[in-house]
């Protein structure tokens, strides 16, 4: 697992209170990991802070799964 992927997963485990094994690439924040709309906003903010990037709202709307978050951040770095 890349460094980015492991840091993204750690944030998701922490913020959503889910088991690490559930945080698979295709897992959807809302459908699989129990996030509500506020959780999703918080996750995006944590990614911005952790990786020192800006994720515009229109881009954030397209980040709905663990894999999408990892590839977005990899592209932004």
């Amino acid at each position: 697992m890349s460094d980015i992927a492991s840091r993204v997963k750690a944030i998701i485990v922490d913020k959503l209170g889910v088991d690490e094994n559930e945080v698979v690439t295709e897992a959807s924040f809302t459908n699989d990991l129990g996030a509500d709309s506020l959780d999703t906003v918080e996750l995006i903010m944590e990614f911005e802070k952790e990786f020192d990037i800006q994720i515009p709202d229109d881009q954030a709307e397209n980040i709905a799964t663990v894999g999408q978050a990892i590839s977005y951040i990899e592209g932004a770095k």
């Binding site: 959503l16 209170g17 506020l38 906003v41 918080e42 903010m45």
Partner: protein
Amino acid sequence: MELRRVVVTGLGALTPIGNTKDEYWDALISGKSGAAPITYFDTEKFKTKFACELKNFNATDFLDRKEARKMDRFTQYAMVASDEAIADSKLDLDKINKLRVGVIWGAGIGGLETFQQEVLNFADGDGTPRFNPFFIPKMIADIAPGNISIKHGFMGPNYTTVSACASSANAMIDALNTIRLGHCDVVVTGGSEAAVTIAGMGGFNAMHALSTRNESPETASRPFDATRDGFVLGEGAGAIILEDYEHAKARGAKIYAEVIGGGLSSDAYHMTAPHPDGIGVIAVMKNCLENAGIQPEEVDHINTHGTSTPLGDVAELKAISEVFGDHAKNISINSTKSMTGHLLGAAGAIESIASILAMEHGMVPPTINHEVVDENIDPELNLTLNKAQKRDVKVAMSNTFGFGGHNACVLFKKLD
């Protein structure tokens, strides 16, 4: 229409001297102080370096980590105390009509720590407003009853009353009247507060409201003592299940006491100072007696507001003498804030619980830390100094007064 009778069928307490109703009572009658040096933050530059914090409390023992993280401490405390009270009431949540169960809560401030933390984060940044999406819903004072209703599915009236230190007494009176009028069968009421924070301590210190007896925190809250120098900030929650008497009787519930009346008034005088003649305080006790339809001579115990401030304590006792006349000296008067500190919006709830338990046990908890007689206080008054007193309490009054001049008073009666 005939008003319904309202009774207390469940209690829950999370206080600086005990984390359950039973631990709280044991500490109350043994005269235990909850004050100690503050552990939550560095107090080096603070005038007051102590408070009544909760002891050995971990929210995650009661709430899952994800749930706890989305709640300010004042909501976490509310969840824990209300769970205890609901369990104590033995209400069968699968059988009752949840449309007729309300939650009316009291909080003087709300999520102060959450507010403080978010603003500090902003101030540390480059001006970009990176506020957490949970900031507002965690902070607002009405989120505690909101979360209680979400957890249990209670769909009746749901809100928080805010009247500073009178908040939870206001909540109880609203709960009483809601059931009296037949709008609800059950109301989860009480209050919670978590203001032992940098902003809370700094703010109250700036008002010169807090004791600065740093050399002896456990003796700092000393209501009615001549050397009292301000209140000691406390935190926690008290929860009370109020229920329609017929509803409680039909399910064979344990009934602690009947709530026979509530009184409300305002000083209309000053933002923080009590009225020197206590006119608002006199009015609230009279209102309460009238609302309950009883005579002053029937009251045998008063848990005072008694915060240990120089002006407030004397004004309240003078008002008691004015309202009760010669009978005042027969009343077991106390201030349990001598032990718990001042829980602000939760004060009325935990002090009402103390009075209800005093009825149950036939024992009035003491006003601890009394050393020096205050010559401005009538020596004939029984202030239950330093040691619990046996007393068959049949009617108990609980007083709370809030900054802003809000006065609230509740009367409880033992069922025959």
